[in-house]
């Protein structure tokens, strides 16, 4: 996993609640057996005017000019500003893979769905929950300023606006630690092989039917 420390980048607004993982990456792209290459199909049904299928040359497809990520002012955005319950629905990790492949490293929203939340951090994407009023202000700021940027600092848990004002954010300590250091969860868990074996030893006596 690529570590995350600081990022200063353009913010793109996704102004609708309950954006689900089917919208983030439609099902036909889940047929891939790879982890990469999902970026061109991020938000596929909103982003293009035709029906997308795996294997198409996406550079030749008709774009929905109205869609936020197709607008000139949001090109190069790496921070996504979103609404309530972002990432709800399916557990597909293809959703964070698509966001990451497109270039997003931070998503800011009032709330996120649980499985998406966990999946994103495991892929080096920082999700930041902020109060609805703060989010509302950010949406206004983004709308009012072409090329609007924010600076995110994970170590200090701050978002700094262009005018120098600072928004503090919370992040779980264990998620912060893993993200700052780009740690591999499996490697960490395998440091506790003896604990796992001891548990199995004990449990197979208590509940032998679980070990048939």
């Amino acid at each position: 996993m690529e570590k995350f420390t600081k990022l200063k980048a353009i913010v793109a607004p996704m102004d609708r609640p309950n954006v689900d993982t089917d919208a983030i990456i439609p099902k036909q792209f889940l047929k891939s057996i790879k982890r990469s290459g999902f970026g061109p199909n991020l938000f596929d049904e909103w982003r293009y005017l035709d029906h997308g299928e795996p294997g198409m040359d996406n550079s030749q497809r008709p774009l929905n000019k109205e869609f936020v990520l197709n607008q000139d002012r949001y090109q190069g955005a790496q921070i996504l500003l979103a609404r309530e319950n972002f990432g709800c629905g399916s557990s597909r990790e293809h959703a964070p893979w698509a966001l990451l492949d497109y270039g997003f490293r931070v998503v800011i929203a009032p709330s996120f769905a649980d499985i998406f939340f966990s999946n994103s951090f495991k892929n080096g994407i920082l999700l930041i929950k902020l109060d609805t009023q703060v989010i509302e202000q950010l949406f206004s700021d983004v709308a009012a300023n072409q090329g609007y940027e924010l600076s995110v600092d994970l170590e200090n848990q701050t978002i700094t606006k262009a005018d120098g004002s600072v928004i503090k954010f919370d992040v779980d300590e264990f998620r912060k630690h893993r993200l700052l250091n780009g740690l591999d969860d499996i490697g960490l868990t395998l440091q506790h092989v003896d604990d796992i074996k001891a548990y199995e030893q004990r449990r197979s006596v208590e509940a032998p039917w679980l070990f048939n």
Partner: protein, 467 residues
Amino acid sequence: MAGKTLYEKIWDQHVVRDNGDGTALLYIDRQLVHEVTSPQAFEGLRLADRKLWRVDANLATPDHNVPTTDRSKGIEDPISRLQVETLDQNCSDFGITEFKMDDIRQGIVHVIGPEQGATLPGMTVVCGDSHTSTHGAFGALAHGIGTSEVEHVMATQCLVQAKSKTMLVSVDGEVNAGITAKDIVLAIIGEIGTAGGTGYAIEFGGDAIRALSMEGRMTVCNMAIEAGARAGMVAVDQKTIDFVKGRPYSPKDEQWQQAVKAWNELHSDSDAQFDTSVNIDAATIKPQVTWGTSPEMVVGVDNKVPDPDNETDDVKREGMIAALNYMGLTANTPMNEIEVDKVFIGSCTNSRIEDIRAAAEVAKGRKVASNIKLAMVVPGSGLIKQQAEQEGLDKILTEAGFEWREPGCSMCLAMNADRLEPGERCASTSNRNFEGRQGQGGRTHLVSPAMAAAAAIKGHFVDVTTL
């Protein structure tokens, strides 16, 4: 000291170590594997030269991409075919038991786990699929995970988890005749919202839940994720134990006795404290139909399409307007005047024998309406299909004009050839009415199997209890 909730009991029994940072290493008893969310996990194991920690804890089947028509021709779409072949190869390489596409035991992962006794009370069950919450119906702690976690469980048999908060949803009293588990859970989601359970494990209780069959409890727990909760669960009782008994993976003989004794403890203590609780009066629940693009956008069939003008919250109102626009609906239209084009009875929510019986009961001696382009019934597994055929349900359904298909996820998410065309409206027993879920531009209304069958017969939504 206060007693423990069911969630806390199972959690405590599975803690391998406390990581001291708000997380614990939690032992996983069972992992179910399918073709869509596993290939990258197997690839990760290979790249790191890791093996499966416990091969026998895994059980696999292809379900999302499989055709529901003639299987002898294989899978036409080469990309789908490669994904299923990749699962076959991975299971073969790593030694995992797999019910392949031509095996009568093949089916939707969340149907075959319980059917095989591979899901047992008190277990921790995971799968790279959000509807893993289904297995909580057995008094198990079951939830969906992403592919990184699938790989983590394969390699370590554990997950790094932070404890959830606990919510009790109590459905009190009795439901009226004809009200099903699907109506109960849609009513719950309508009440608490699609994010109402975020951060919680929900325990479903109350007389109306206790009165449900195991199939019904699976339907309710299946949609816990649609209320935002990764895990839904129901306490163990005699129905649970009767269902589990004698299945291929269930314990036998002495171990059975020992297991039943342990399972009888799998309920929340009477003095257990939940972080929050919600009460719903079962008698008020009507047959439910969703009208929008989120499962919380739901009303009784005797109701009308809601009017965004009555919504005071700006974000919600905008969401309603967008949903009505996508769904091609006008505010204040009576739900029972909405005509449908297709009917889908199936999915991990409603494809079990009880669901097929309910559909057949409505279809018996009737005909699918002329405006219906397709009405299909997709059993959850090969064994359910066989049982339904033994009961003559397939005949009743096909005589009425329904198509009787091979088992799989099918048009719940349309990864195979079964899908809606743009603008088509569907009465569906599945779990998600998101934009494009059943096919780009498709319009999904979530209902129970009986309500879906009734919509097929009438050509529009109708209160099945008045049919």
